[in-house]
Symmetry: C2
Subunit: 489 residues, 2 copies
Amino acid sequence: MDIEAIAQERRPRSLAQGLSSLRTCLVKCKDKAVDLGRSIKKLGQDDPRRVIHSLKVGLALTLVSLIYYVRPFYDSYGISGMWAVLTVTVVFEFTVGATLSKGLNRGFATFSAGALGVGAQHLACLFGEEGEPIVLGVLVFLLAGAATFTRFFPRIKARYDYGILIFILTFSMVTVSGYRVEKLLELAHQRLSTIIIGGATCIIVSIFLCPVWAGEDLHKLIILHLEKLAIFLEGFGSEYFQSVNEDKPVISTEEKTFLLGYKSILTSKNMEESLANFARWEPRHGRFQFHHPWKQYLKIGALVRQCAYRIEALNGYLNSDLQAPPTFNKRIQEPCLKITSESSKALTMLASAIKLMTDPSLASLHLHNSEIAVDNLKILLKTTSLEDTELLSIVPAATVASILIQVVKCVEEIYQAVNELSDLANFKSAVKPKVSPEKPQAQLLIHLGVVKPVVNIGGNKGDVVVTVLDDKIPENENNSRANYPDQPL
Amino acid sequence: MDIEAIAQERRPRSLAQGLSSLRTCLVKCKDKAVDLGRSIKKLGQDDPRRVIHSLKVGLALTLVSLIYYVRPFYDSYGISGMWAVLTVTVVFEFTVGATLSKGLNRGFATFSAGALGVGAQHLACLFGEEGEPIVLGVLVFLLAGAATFTRFFPRIKARYDYGILIFILTFSMVTVSGYRVEKLLELAHQRLSTIIIGGATCIIVSIFLCPVWAGEDLHKLIILHLEKLAIFLEGFGSEYFQSVNEDKPVISTEEKTFLLGYKSILTSKNMEESLANFARWEPRHGRFQFHHPWKQYLKIGALVRQCAYRIEALNGYLNSDLQAPPTFNKRIQEPCLKITSESSKALTMLASAIKLMTDPSLASLHLHNSEIAVDNLKILLKTTSLEDTELLSIVPAATVASILIQVVKCVEEIYQAVNELSDLANFKSAVKPKVSPEKPQAQLLIHLGVVKPVVNIGGNKGDVVVTVLDDKIPENENNSRANYPDQPL
């Protein structure tokens, strides 16, 4: 075969190869575009406020651009109008609190640094033409160094970091440009007023167009976390004992991911702190006053996280390969299930108390029930005979029981903190049961009753909570109705 | 007494009161000043790099101010010189990585947005004098909205958030000011070049004057976390069993705070992630290449946190009020102490392997020992007779044992991850023992020996690790020398 023939044979093949690789490339590109489209859609659907926020930024920027387009504005502000554009881009944040924080920080910092800069300028003038740049340089060095150092203080960093940055920026720019630009005061005035225009545009658009309040987000986040703990505890009880009894996991992967919602609590500290920081800047909105006790939310958040750490430890025992003897499991199953379901109900009620901003004392009934269940569990563990069982096989179950007891302690602490929040924020009161909160006796095990509370939704002072006494043990512990013993609480 | 007399009597008293309140006020002010001085001193002493960083910012700002002071510079850049000042203030960050990330983001964003802005300007020109502002307004709205939305993508937010901000800023400013300022290209060129001057100043000062590398900080942070886990485990073993045996805590409050160092690991996720993000921007420095596997550090960090969650659960049992029978405690004490001390040693060795960047396989000896101890513990728990003991009283001790078993699993995973890091980053190899890693037999309990390894510090390939076999059980398990069974590893 001669070379030409080989070449001819190869040409179509390489053409076909080229076409196929082009096709693969196109398919890949299409796939990537589809993926991108999907992730954009998901991002928007997960929180539609993101789309609204993007539109709001566009709107605010277009509004301040008017300064340039409209002749009278331009004539009075000139090129300084761009500071308004700059301010909007930098100050506009997702939440009202963050926008206010940045806007006010920027405003005050510009004003104070501007004034100080003019002062420094005058001081430097006294040192003659040659001394001036040296004095100004030294001043910039000292002030920038000192201000940068203050940014390392955690409390200042949390609240005024941006302000200090703008302070350094403005001071340097005023002192430095003052050395050349003669119309210093006019420049400072123009800059300040355009920044005020930009900042005001941001704040107005942020507050009056579908506002996103950091405070409300923090409020909802804490509620969500409480609910996630409740979901885990409710699911854990049934999942653990069913899988232990029937020797196989009874829960689908989907439900499992649902159960694992609590994982996000473990690393939520920074988010809570920044939301609380921004919330402090926000004016009265919805049901929140200006001095709403946001710090208390952080306290609750920290306790919720403590509880989540315990739950993380519990989660490690969900698919344990060691099986306790069925008789032992059956014995501890009842109090353990009671603990998980009652703690879960207590947490759900605490979440709904925060949500409705009503007194959380109704949750104490469930908390109390879980404490009784803890006592019962302890009695059971005390009286269980272990003659025929290997200790090793019951260690996982005993560990679960032991951690559950700790979880109840955590829930108690959360209850106390929510109570404090209720006092601090003047939550509407629900009527507390007029009975003494005596420590229940262990005999309760023998005689359980059911109290169905009619939760008072309106929650005005003086409303009466109607409770119905029902003297039989519920057949299904897992239903959603609340179970209480008919003992003094 | 007439009024004058009363007034005379009161005057000195109110003067005295005034003086005393002034004194109190002065004392308070002095106290506050002293407190402030102390906290400033502490802030500087905790990390002296903070002071150096502050001085560096001052220096960089003074350097770019030269643009204004020096006539030739000013003549070519004019008022645009202030962009250099602005860039330095905003871009200069604590670590080199953060400074580079911000500087490069700012540079590229300014360039691309400037070019796009000029294009938009030309496009708008086509629509005539009346159409131009409308087209520009629509373009600004669309681009600002779209760019703001992309900032919600977590991956983009982590790396390019600042770049997108500057992109929006520059695009708006170029299009908007282009509508008025005729010398658009000159303006864009001046802005870009002054930004480059500012950015370059930052980067040079940041890199060549006592640099703070984010990568090195991440490296040290992970080492510190491993050491903190090791300290807790070492302390926990002795503390738990001594307090249980002697019925009182034997540890001082000071030591206790030392033990609780691990708490900072629980919430360190954000810090690790931001350090890793910045580290990616950093050039080769010290022992770290440009493509050092920083992601693997995040993986190790996550596993260390998992271990810290378990340890947080353990910590809850340090001062348990339930006392197990001394005989039971004595039985599980030995394997439990072995687990804690060997895991602790394994973690310490892993930390030092990362520190020295040598192969971590030496830690496998300790890990192996702790696995043997786990097996022994399981055998003990299997064979323990519980005829005379209450289950309730041994639950805490059993829980501790159970969690310790989980901790060993965590340490194993950490070991794997550090091994992967060692492969990825080409750590210097230490000689691995030439024996098969067979699962040890439980009989090991009966015949324990000691291997004293001579750790090879130089760690060059081919070096031989000398091990000394010593065939007796060590008298004191708590001493710092490493104990190994004389079985194949």
